[in-house]
């Protein structure tokens, strides 16, 4: 398996791939984001209970999904790095942290804005909100750790270990609304179906995909930056950069 997978993840190949895809995915993502924003704001019907304000859902929920998935991605890469010592997974880990931080911040801010008119408060220390706030601190901590050590190898190892430990928080965020009494409502989309009417539900995957494209383009640029700072001086990289 190693030789089939690993040969596609040589830094120079990944660099080329990222160089090729960063701008197209950004353009596709931006257009998709603007179109689906227009769609969810103007075309979808208002909600019976919450009226127009429920439309924040379409930025809140995809960001929440992404903030948690990106953290799992960090932990998986940390695991692979610790076991197989593959440089590229350390590069992936380093490049994804800032994107996860952005989405966690978006979740908390959009949730605050949403909370005031519906719940009656911007912030309350319930289990869902507190665990998401801890996720934000985890991302900030990882970013702080990135620049705390002089050796890249030490940094990568510490980041891997910390991101694996922090993954414990992800199931807590997910199940916090089931385990404890929270002000935050339960999950709308479960294995038994969706509590969001199918007419409105379509906006969710649209926003999710466009945000995925946008975050991939940032991710690709971060990877390029990360590869250059690590291997920019090698002759193979020089050839690629100089064409």
């Amino acid at each position: 398996m190693y030789k089939y997978v690993a040969k596609y993840f040589i830094p120079s190949r990944v660099f080329k791939f990222c160089n090729l895809t960063a701008i197209p995915t950004f353009i596709i993502g931006l257009i998709a984001f603007l179109l689906s924003s227009y769609f969810v704001i103007y075309s979808l019907p208002a909600d019976v209970e919450q009226q127009e304000i429920y439309r924040i859902l379409f930025i809140h929920v995809p960001s929440a999904i992404l903030s948690e998935l990106i953290y799992l991605f960090l932990a998986v890469n940390g695991f692979i790095y610790l076991v197989w010592r593959t440089k590229i997974s350390a590069i992936f880990l380093n490049s994804a942290i800032s994107i996860g931080l952005i989405f966690t911040a978006i979740v908390l801010i959009s949730g605050s804005i949403w909370g005031k008119p519906t719940w009656g408060t911007y912030w309350v220390w319930d289990a869902r909100i507190t665990s998401t706030f801890i996720l934000l601190i985890q991302y900030i901590g990882l970013i702080a750790l990135r620049s705390s050590f002089s050796s890249k190898q030490t940094t990568d190892q510490i980041l891997s270990i910390v991101s694996i430990i922090g993954a414990v928080n992800i199931p807590i965020i997910k199940f916090s609304v089931d385990w404890w009494n929270t002000l935050h409502q339960n999950a709308s989309i479960t294995t038994s179906g969706s509590a969001i009417d199918s007419e409105m539900l379509i906006g969710l995957p649209l926003m999710l995909v466009s945000l995925l494209f946008l975050s991939f383009s940032i991710f690709a640029r971060n990877i390029q930056f990360e590869i250059l700072t690590r291997t920019g001086k090698t002759s193979a990289m020089r050839e690629i950069i100089n064409g």
Partner: protein, 138 residues
């Protein structure tokens, strides 16, 4: 094939992750009472705590129980479908506060009248989203 030393590393990480998970589990179990944002009426009746302390009471607003008293003062019954508690509140209400809908009230018990005097009301909405059907009348 995974080499032996790598397999050992995988076991080590899994063991490590499991122990961190277990530690978190026990910490959360120990803090269980403090993590819950609110107590339900049955929990309040079962609990033996200082009645003058502030706490949060949560549940559904019982259908037909919402009454306007003088001024901005209202009273309603919070129910968890097992026991009930009367709540008195004076102030501004959130938009989504209504009968047969979730509510979380901050305040303290009035022991003489078995009432809950609320200082803050938060609305707890459910996970259902339904489109508004505009009925066109010709």
């Amino acid at each position: 094939m995974i080499r032996k030393n790598r397999l050992n590393k995988i076991y080590l990480i899994i063991f490590f992750l499991l122990s961190v998970g277990l530690i978190t589990f026990f910490i959360l179990r120990a803090l269980e009472k403090n993590i819950d944002l609110y107590l339900t009426p049955s929990e309040v009746k079962a609990a033996d705590f200082n009645q003058f302390d502030d706490f949060k009471l949560g549940g559904m607003v019982k259908v037909g129980s919402l009454q306007k008293l003088e001024g901005l003062e209202i009273s309603f019954i919070v129910t968890d479908f097992q026991s009930e508690m009367t709540v008195i509140y004076e102030g501004v209400l959130p938009n989504l506060f209504k009968e047969n809908s979730g509510v979380v009230a901050t305040g303290s018990l009035n022991p003489e009248q078995n009432q809950f005097i609320a200082t803050e009301i938060l609305a707890k909405h459910d996970e259902n989203y339904m489109p508004v059907k505009i009925e066109v009348q010709n």
